[in-house]
Amino acid sequence: MSFDYAEPTSVAEAIALLDGDEDSVALAGGTAFSLLYRQGLIRPRRVVGLRRLGDLQGIQARDDGLWIGALATHRSIERSAVVRAAHPSLADAFATIATVRIRNQATVGGNLAHADPAQDPPVILSALAAVVHVAGPGGTRRTVPVDELFVDYLATVLEPGELIVGILVPPAEAGTRSGYHKYLPRSADDYATVSVAVSVRLDDVGLVAAARIALGGVGSTPIRPLAAEAALIGARPDQPRLGEVAAMVRDAVDPLDDSRGSAAYKREMAAVWVRRALEGVVG
């Protein structure tokens, strides 16, 4: 088995090479690709290496938010002073991904396109209301909120021939606190049994003015428990209320039984860890 390999130098050229063909694959850091390829689960006809695309590199603080190029590695996000200044929880979350060797190789764009619901970046980026910028054939551009990107296990709304060029994380409003937690009962570099990201803003009198919650590992896609978020808005985040919100999370998730726990156990842990994550930002 073999495939054609090309390394374009412009986004337009990369998209032309992908040619809207399901059997063409864009290669960023290659961490997901190499696993699927070596397991024999994918047999692409063409692989388009993205590493020479300068437009997809870099991290910048802009007026409209924090711009992270699709080819930014997890490690560069973890260590970026610009990221830490804008969204400390984002830098913290990226510091917990897998191992440093993987963080040096894997990219944020590749991670989102791979759409593994147990991985960390979709969860924290969803809680921070990040938006994915996508380039397509004929010079088209569109944006997709991270929490609308995923449709199923390893599946996104991206069409063949579309490419993620970067992610924009909007500025946090003053008073917003966010955090990322993952429950790792086995080892520190394992996939989480459940992961939770929260972002909450309290008003002057201590009521919740804005709240976003995102969970990983408990469904075919990352999940936002919208009813639980709504139950926080306008409320005082005291223990009874946090208990009610956590209970609503149980009904919002849809986990699978696997080696990291039964579906029932993960449902329970989703509630426990949402509560802990909320306590961490409203205390």
């Binding site: 699927l36 024999g40 689960l41 047999r43 296990y153 390893l154 599946a155 075919s220 699978l256 696997d258």
Partner: protein, 148 residues
């Protein structure tokens, strides 16, 4: 891997059973089946395409009606398919049974004993089970619509 799916079809038992036993027709209700064509007595040939993100299986093979009891509303089918491109295959023994429910509805029970061979097994059982659930749900919706 043993799976059991129970689905409720909004139609009486008789029409549900007749429709199930028209295998080439009912197979079109399974998402990813292009055609099931007769190939000797109680034997059929067909293709099933299933995708999990970038992983696309194209299983080609045979389905055989092993036994059929119209009175009891029970049939056993044996299928096997291989994916030439990825390498690997799936063998399945299916037991279908129907039972009358109130309100002119029918419960269809599909018990599957699935063996996954070769590379396809790398997908892992939880994912395959979820995919099977999705297929069954779509199958139930399609069957209900056809019979309404």
């Amino acid at each position: 891997m043993k799976l059991e799916h129970r689905i409720v079809v909004r139609a009486p038992r008789g029409p549900v059973w007749d429709s199930l036993m028209d295998l080439p027709e009912v197979a079109l209700c399974v998402p990813g089946v292009e055609a099931l064509t007769p190939h000797g007595d109680d034997r059929y040939e067909g293709h099933l395409r299933v995708g999990v993100g970038p992983i696309r299986l194209n299983l080609g093979g045979e389905l055989e009606l092993v036994s059929r009891d119209d009175e009891a509303g029970r049939a056993v089918l044996r299928g096997n398919g291989t994916d030439a491109r990825l390498g690997g295959g799936v063998r399945v023994l299916l037991t279908l049974s129907v039972a009358e429910l109130d309100g002119g509805r029918t419960q269809l029970t599909i018990e599957s004993d699935v063996q996954v061979l070769g590379r396809i097994g790398e997908l892992g059982q939880p994912i395959m089970k979820r995919k099977a659930d999705d297929l069954m749900r779509a199958f139930a919706d399609c069957l209900s619509q056809r019979l309404q």
